[in-house]
Structure formats: structure tokens, C-alpha cells
Symmetry: C2
Subunit: 215 residues, 2 copies
DNA sequence: ACCTGAACACCGTTCAAGT
DNA sequence: ACCTGAACACCGTTCAAGT
């Protein structure tokens, strides 16, 4: 599977090839050697154009994040958080290599920061203080990442030295169903709503009489 | 660091050595070769007593889970879930190799099933239906795993090709603080409470008049 | 029965050398 | 300037051979 041609090697071409490779196979991990081979070049040739594998994987991650169109910032905050979670899960499901990036190193790539910014904007409008907005986004992001880890883990070989697929083993399998993702996500978002409500009570809105019951 | 002696090789001795090795260094990954060397034996000698590396790591995981004493099942469900989360985080922090196990394959080891069982018991008493009890436990487990992944990731080398530690990069760093762990955990548990409340309203208890507010 | 040596098929990365 | 060859320091695992 040579992707190479007459064009000279460059950082852009390398990242492009990495994106292609990590998209087609559901390969857990891209290898420098495999990437080099696909480009028809020795592994070491890559190192003139990129710092190391991490450098490439961050670029891939940033690109994949940028390729997703975020919902409008006019979206209500709860919906917005939910949709960000769905987008992230879609990405991590289709590209486990990116999941590995999040699990192995901090991801402060531009597109990740942009996403945080957008979330903070929407949450702030929704009544969150700036600090809590970051926290709320982080909580949802954290949950999503955990879910995708478990989901990926389940995709790998099952079983082992355990006796057999007991009923409880089946329950553990149910940790990564679609409904379970929704259940956990709803729980967090409901919890965040509670927090907003408490803040609203502590710092009551001037115009309304009964703000103790809410959506 | 030879841990070997005159005793013959056995599954028990191998797992014991693996436990010791993965405890002392904060080594992300135990290697078969390193383990063999520590035991004063060739790597292949291990394969007569264990199936493969996965086999060893599951045994290590089970052992670490068993070493933790769970809170009493008389504990209120919200507290119980919180304490399970704290225990899990303590484990995954001190032994990143176990984090890797959860991230790479389903963990249906006896101690993991026991933990699920205990949680289901407590949650059922707290008013959860059996199915929702599993879901609630799974949600908290999922969040905890995600948090520990991010926490571990932050422990690895920071930075990269990004320009500098901007204010937003610092915000991303705040995803893995102690307070943030609490914040997310509280959000989920609050959300679960909402669920219980809704269920209580949909299916009202016969004997009490005002059951809409509770612990 | 239990362990070893050599090998297979991999990794990421460095460093001196070639063109 | 750009790429290569050989090497370093690793992986998990198999398979035939030794004792």
C-alpha cells in the first residue's frame, strides 16, 4: 500500500498519509515504520520533517477535531454538551488511535482549545460562572473518554481465565451499550442542571417569584 | 533486581513478582522480558505457567481489587458510589498498568464482579431497579476511568508543537485536579439522585406523605 | 517436566554515512 | 538538504532443542 509518488516528503504529506492510514484500517496504533513503508520511504526519512511520532499523532488529532462542525453556539447548553459528547464519541470510535492520544498525553492542540472555548461561551450564557463552565465541559469530556475506552476495550478479545460468560459478565458488557452511554451522559447533565439551579437559588433572579422548580 | 531464589517457578510466584514490580516502579507497562529478568529466568520460561501477558495482568488486576476493603453495604448509596470511585482512582493512580488493563480489554475478573454485585445491592436498597443499579454503577465507573486516563496522560510529557502554555492550555490542565474529580463525580451522583426522585414520583411510595425530598 | 537459545515479526529513535 | 543503512534498545510469542 504505497501512497507515495513523485512529490517530495514534507510535514503536510506525512500527516496526510497518517490521516489516511489511521482512517482506513481500524488500526489501534499507527507505526512510524508502517507509515514510512506506506510512503515508500525509510522510517528515518520522516524525522527530517516531524519531531517524532507524538508530533504526527497530535497533528492527526487536531485535524480530526477540526473536521467536525460544532453545533451552533445558540444551542441550549445541555444540548450543546450532549452534542459535543456525541461528536467526540463518533471520533474516538472511528479512530482508536486518537483515543490513544488522549489517554497518553495532554491534548492542548488548537482545535481542542477552540472546542473548550465554544463550550465555555455557551455554558456562560446558560448561567455558569466561567470556572464552572470549564468544569462542566471537563466532566462531560472525561466521561466520554472513559466510555470510549471501555468501548474500545470491549472490541478487543473477550474472555480469559474466567469461568464463562456469567450473568454478571454480561452486565459488565452492558457498560458499553448505546443506552448506557445515554444514561451516564444524562446523569451528568442532570447533575449539572442541579448545580445551576442551586446557584440560581443562592443568587436569586430578581424578576421571578418561584424559581425553585425548573426544567 | 533479581527476585528469584531456589523456589521453582509457578503461576503464583510469577503473579507475585508482577505485583511487586508494578508496585515499586511507576512503570506504565510491565514487560514479560523485564519480569523474567527480575525472576532470574528467560522470558519463555514464564509461558509454561501462564497463558500470556494478558493472563498475568488480569491476575494482577484482580489481586489489587481484592486488596481493597469495600465500604459497608449499609452505607447510603450515594456515599457508597463515591467511595468506590475514590478506591478505584487510588488504585489506578498508584498502578497505571491496571489502568491499561481496563483500557485495553474487558475486565470481568471475580473481584470486579464482586464490586458490581455489592454496588447493585446497595443501590437496590436505595430505590434503584436492578437494571438502573447496574447503569448507575457503570456511569460512575466510566467517569472514574476517564478521569484517571486524563490524569495519567497529564503525568506524561507535556507540551509539543503548541506555542506555549496559554491560559486555555492551563484550563485543560485543570481537567485533572482534585476539585475537578469531585465536581464531575458530584454531578453524576446528583444526576442519579434526580433519576431516583423521578422514579419515586412516577411510582409513589404508599406509606409516606412527602417523599419528594430525601437524602 | 521444565527451562533455554535462537528466531520471528515487530517497535521508536539515533547517528554516521552517502548523494 | 535530503534520504539511507546499520544499529541500539526494546517488545510478545513460537518452536525446536536441551537436561
Amino acid at each position: 500500500m504505497r501512497l507515495s509518488s513523485t512529490e517530495p516528503l514534507s510535514r503536510a504529506r506525512i500527516v496526510e498519509a497518517a490521516l489516511r492510514l489511521s482512517a482506513e484500517g481500524t488500526l489501534e496504533e499507527l507505526s512510524m515504520r508502517g507509515l514510512a513503508e506506506a510512503m515508500g520511504v525509510t522510517p528515518m526519512a520522516l524525522y527530517r520533517h516531524v519531531a517524532d511520532k507524538d508530533d504526527i499523532m497530535l497533528a492527526v488529532t487536531n485535524e480530526r477535531l477540526e473536521q467536525q462542525t460544532l453545533p451552533s453556539t445558540d444551542t441550549p447548553w445541555a444540548t450543546y454538551l450532549r452534542e459535543l459528547a456525541l461528536l467526540m464519541r463518533a471520533l474516538l470510535r472511528s479512530e482508536p488511535a486518537v483515543l490513544g492520544v488522549f489517554a497518553r498525553r495532554p491534548v492542548t492542540v488548537p482545535a481542542a482549545l477552540a472546542r473548550l472555548d465554544a463550550a465555555v461561551t455557551v455554558l456562560t450564557r446558560g448561567g455558569f460562572e466561567a470556572r464552572d463552565a470549564v468544569r462542566a465541559y471537563a466532566a462531560v469530556h472525561t466521561y466520554t473518554l472513559g466510555f470510549c475506552s471501555l468501548e474500545f476495550a470491549r472490541g478487543q478479545r473477550v474472555g480469559g481465565h474466567e469461568v464463562g460468560l456469567s450473568e454478571r459478565a454480561a452486565q459488565i458488557a452492558s457498560f458499553v451499550t448505546e443506552t448506557q452511554f445515554e444514561y451516564g451522559l444524562n446523569s451528568i447533565i442532570d447533575g449539572l442542571k442541579t448545580g445551576v439551579a442551586e446557584r440560581a437559588i443562592a443568587d436569586p433572579p430578581a424578576l421571578q417569584k418561584d424559581a425553585s422548580k425548573h426544567a
